[in-house]
Amino acid sequence: MIHLEHLSKAYGGHIVLRDISLSFEKGNVYGIVGENGSGKTTLFKCMTGLESHHGQVTSVFDRFKDHVGYLPTDLYFFSKMTGREYFQLLCNARQVVEKEMDLKNIFDLPLDQYAATYSTGMKKKLALTAILLQPNEVFILDEPYNGVDIHSNMIITEIIHRLKALGKTVLISSHIFSTLKETCDYIHVIENGQISRSVGRDEFDALEKEMKDFTVQEKVNRLRLV
C-alpha cells in the first residue's frame, strides 16, 4: 500500500536517514521505535512530503498526502485561535463539513478557549481529534501519547484499535513500549537513521527484553550508582 524505497535524508553533512526501504500494508498498525534523534520524526516528515529527501515514497493513492492524517510531534497553534476554530481549519482543509464537533470532542477539551493556552497533552489531543475528523486512510502519529493523562492514553489506544478494524493503516512512534505492544502488528527499530530490526507481534517480548538487557541495563550500569 505504501512503499519506501531507499529513502535517505541529510541536513548538510549530517545524515539522518540512510537507505530505508519499508512497506506498510492496509489495516495494519506499525510502530517505529528508536532513541531521541534516531530519525523517527524525519522519517515521518519525509513520508508526508514535509521534508525533501532522496529515494521514493509510493502508494496506491494518486496524491498520497491527501489521504494522510499526520499528527506532528512539534505542535504549533496560533495565539488567538480557539480549539473549535482549529477543528474548523483542519476540516476546511479537506473540504469536510463537520456539524458534530462538540459530540466528537471526546477528550472534553475546552473548545472555546485559545488553543495556544492548552497544556502539552491537551494540544496533542486537540490535534489528534482534528485529524480524526478528516476522512484519512493513513494515520501517521508522531508520539501520540506524549504528555497525555492515563485515561486519554487508553482512549488513544482504543482509537488505534478502531482505526485498524476499519482497515486504516496506522504508523506510530512512541517511547512507551507497552503501548506499542498493545497496538502494533509490527515494530521497526530505527538506529542512527537505519532500520536495524523489524519484528512481528510474536517477537515483541523478545525485543522488549533485548532492549532492556542490552540497551537500558548496559547504559544505566555505566552510571555506577552507589
Binding site: 508526508t48 512530503g49 514535509l50 525533501s52 496524491r63 498526502k65 491527501d66 499526520y70 506532528p72 504549533y76 496560533f78 495565539s79 488567538k80 485561535m81 480557539t82 473549535r84 476554530e85 482549529y86 474548523q88 481549519l89 483542519l90 476546511n92 482543509a93 479537506r94 473540504q95 472555546d112 478557549q113 485559545y114 493556552t117
Partner: protein, 244 residues
C-alpha cells in the same frame, strides 16, 4: 510586547516580586523616555509626570495569563489570517472606528477615507508572518487552487471588515464615492500582493529587495502590475513541494 504573558511568566519564575516590578518599571520608563523628554522640552511638567506614573503603575498589571476569553469575530468559518489578525489588531480597528466617528462629527471626509484606508492597511498586516508548513500541507488542493482559495477568502473577509466603514462614510459624504472606490480597489490589490508575497518566499519571509519593491509600490501603484504576476509565479514554485 512588554506585557507579553510568556515573558512575564518567565520573569516571575526567575525573580522575586520586588525585582520583577523593578525590571518592568525600568522597561516601561525606557520606552516612554523619548516622549517624556519632548514633553519636558515643551515644559509640560504635569503631563510628563503623569505619563511616568502611569507607565510605572502599568508595570504592576498583568492582563495576559488570566485573559482567555475568545473575542468573537465574523471569520470563524474560515480561519485563520483574518480570525487571528482581527483579535490581535482589535485596538487598531477600534482606532479606525474612532476616526470614522470623528470624521462624521467634524464633517471631515478625508478623515473618513483615511479610516477606510487604515482598516485595509491593518488587513495587510495579517499576511506579514508565515504559518508552519504543516498548516499549508493539510490542504487538499493544488498550489494554484490553494492560492485562489486564499485570495477569495482574503477578498471576502476584507470586504466584510471594510464595507461597514465605507457605507457609513458614503452615507455622510456621498460625493466622495469615487475616492472610496479607488481606495478599496487599491487596498484589495495590495492585500493580494501581501498574500502572494507571503507565499512567494515560503517558508521563509519576504527578503529585503522584494520588501523594498513592495514598499515602493505604495508610492507607485502601477508597480503592482509587475509585482503580482512575479509573486504569483514564485508562489507556485514554493508551494509545489509542499502541496504536490
Amino acid at each position: 510586547m512588554l506585557a507579553d504573558p510568556g515573558k512575564i511568566n518567565f520573569l516571575r519564575h526567575h525573580f522575586s516580586p520586588r525585582d520583577l516590578f523593578k525590571i518592568r518599571a525600568l522597561e516601561n520608563l525606557f520606552v516612554i523616555l523619548p516622549f517624556v523628554i519632548i514633553l519636558l522640552i515643551h515644559q509640560e511638567w504635569l503631563v510628563s509626570l503623569a505619563v511616568m506614573v502611569i507607565s510605572v503603575a502599568l508595570s504592576l498589571s498583568s492582563i495576559g495569563p488570566s485573559f482567555n476569553f475568545a473575542i468573537p469575530t465574523p471569520f470563524s468559518r474560515y480561519p485563520f489570517e483574518f480570525l487571528t489578525g482581527f483579535r490581535k489588531n482589535l485596538v487598531g480597528l477600534l482606532l479606525a472606528v474612532f476616526l470614522l466617528v470623528m470624521a462624521i462629527v467634524y464633517s471631515n471626509p478625508n478623515l473618513g477615507l483615511f479610516s477606510v484606508a487604515l482598516v485595509l492597511l491593518i488587513c495587510l498586516s495579517f499576511y506579514m508572518s508565515s504559518e508552519q508548513a504543516y498548516l499549508v500541507w493539510i490542504h487538499h488542493l493544488s498550489p494554484v487552487a490553494f492560492l485562489w482559495h486564499k485570495i477569495r477568502i482574503a477578498m471576502v473577509h476584507a470586504l466584510i471588515l471594510v464595507l461597514p466603514f465605507a457605507i457609513v462614510c458614503l452615507s455622510k459624504f456621498p460625493d466622495h464615492g469615487l475616492y472610496m472606490l479607488i481606495i478599496i480597489l487599491l487596498g484589495l490589490l495590495y492585500l493580494v500582493t501581501a498574500l502572494l508575497g507571503k507565499y512567494a518566499f515560503y517558508p521563509l519571509t519576504m527578503n529585503l529587495p522584494q520588501g523594498i519593491l513592495m514598499a515602493i509600490s505604495f508610492w507607485f501603484p502601477p508597480l503592482l502590475l509587475f509585482l503580482i504576476p512575479y509573486f504569483y509565479r514564485r508562489c507556485l514554485l514554493q508551494l509545489q513541494p509542499i502541496l504536490s
